[in-house]
Amino acid sequence: MVATKDMPLKEYVLKGNAACAGCQDMVALRHAHKALEGNVIQVVPACCTSVVQGLWPKSGLAIPVLNTAFPAAAATASGVRAALAAKGKDDTIVMVWAGDGGTFDIGIQALSGAFERRTDFLYVCYNNQVYSNTGTQRSGGTPLHAKTTTTWLGKKEPEKLLDFIVAMHEPVYQATANTAYPRDLYDKFLKAKEIRGPKFIHIFLPCPQAWNYPVEKGVELGKLAVETGYWIQWERIGTEFTLGRQSKRFQDPEKRKPIEEFLKMQGRFSHLFRPERQDAKIQELQDYIQYRWDLLMKTLA
């Protein structure tokens, strides 16, 4: 794994951008671009990243950014790639940077189409599990029992298993990442940069606004997601699966922390603990962890 001191010093995410305090998207963007080192065109559908760039005529990102409509990220990227090909600029990386709403929900058709066409691009879904840019509405990525402004009493369905949907499109490179482990994230972008074809990186990132936790706790929460087994770090080059080293020891259920530790830090799950403890619901979330581990290890590993 890269040593922090060996990462490029150049910053592509500049000071004075419009992100909220404690925004983990900035951590993800910063390390992704340090790995890509500038020769990239970034396509951004409606999401928090449309806002954090800042207001016209300024931009807080030192890379070309093409903002596009909510459902259209992968289609827009397909066009960028085709134009680069027409002009013989094949070395430029085309990257989509989309939220969970723009990926799990409204953008999934375009995503599916672009992968089926074997488009040479990197699709990044930064997943904070909610439409946080519009004010915390549930998305297809929102977990079971999480409170949002459209599920006031808690979501009744678990999140869509997006990684499996993407995997069935047979990307050349697929990985999960987590902003609590920026060096690992950096390495994954470095790897993706070298591989031609449709690539997908799914980044887990806590959102202090939508999840309702103190802004300084983002990294702690990201780590807890892994330590409870809730978020699994893995990578797949073609069909070659590697369980991430942060997740390896948590394959053993005995070593995992109880999900409760992850849940109780977040206001969106507060109703599971107050005014009365909802044991059945907490257990449901706990059970779901093993279900997902089994599914992953049986199908993609």
């Binding site: 207001l55 016209w56 070309p64 596009t68 259209a72 827009t76 397909s78 085709a82 189409g113």
Partner: protein, 391 residues
Amino acid sequence: MKTQLMSANYAAARAVMSARVEVVAAYPITPATTVPEQIALLHETGQWPGQFILVESEHSAMFACIGASSTGARTFTATSSNGLLLMDEALHWATAARLPIVLANINRSVSPSWNIHVTHDDSMSKATTGWIQFYVSSVDEFYHTIIQAFKLAEDERVLMPVMVNADGFVLSHTLSTYDYLEPEEVDKFLPPYKAPHWVMDPKNPVSHGNIVFPEHYMEFRYAMHEGTHNALKVYEEVEREYKKLFGKYFGGPIDCYKCDDAEVVFTSQGSVAAEAKDAIDELREEGYKVGNARMRMIRPFPVDRIRELGSRVKGFASLDRSVSYGYGGPVANDIRATMYNTKHRPIIKSYIGGLGGRDMTVSDIKEVILDTVKAVELGETGPEETWHDLR
């Protein structure tokens, strides 16, 4: 220049080749389908060297064009009806991003019920997007207008996308002679596209489309309005040059036939406008002073040309193959609004006809014109609108 027998759709595919389009993204829909089919063939056989993206929807087709155009490529797509409607968000995006994309829309009725024949409701419903809109009456005109459309769209004074409309089946699938140009000939007219203001380029990073507050948003919209407006003047230059180079001229935004001394002028869009010439000839033989104004461009609306024409005639018989539901024929309404601010007030009669591909024959057109002739004689406008051949 060579002559061939061709359908409008295949001619459009040839125009893509002639204009050296770099990226096409398209999705099949009847009756536009044979455009991408033919482009696919030209592509697979190496006759057209561009990039062809076989997208999974029309929404993606237009957004792929937006991505490609933003990266500096000359781009094209073709669609019809529900496909154009699915693109709606992207059509607005393309105008606000000032991207010179050219779209061939093969006019088809909007569902339900399923009807694959011509109605202009699809494109007329996009009249407020900022897209420049042409309506053509022949295969030859379709081909050459598409090439002209790139020149017009890419002009720095315009920088707005252009939609070239052709009637489904009547033109799209009907063979007719047309004259086509080799790319080397078109080069003299249409140089490679170079985005004048911004382009996606890592060497000169810009962020396009980020947040603009109320302090500036209106100015961007005004600039769009100006761009579309300028198309009238710029198109004059485009046509002049095209005529000089290739000897082809289609009559400007309004192609007039026997209008000089006409008392009643028939206006229409698309293939009916070609049919109308015969109706005019027959009526002239019968002693009526009538003319045909073929509306080639409806956005920007050729206000000055209509006012000039309107100052000389006693009546307009304005046929729309489309309806603004609850407020009649869209082009007739525009003509009425255009004439309101003038001293001369001809009778402007609105006719709706030919919807869902119902035939508008020479005798149908004559009937419409004679209805207006009668209104002019009586000095009575009569009903707000008339649905011709309504059963």
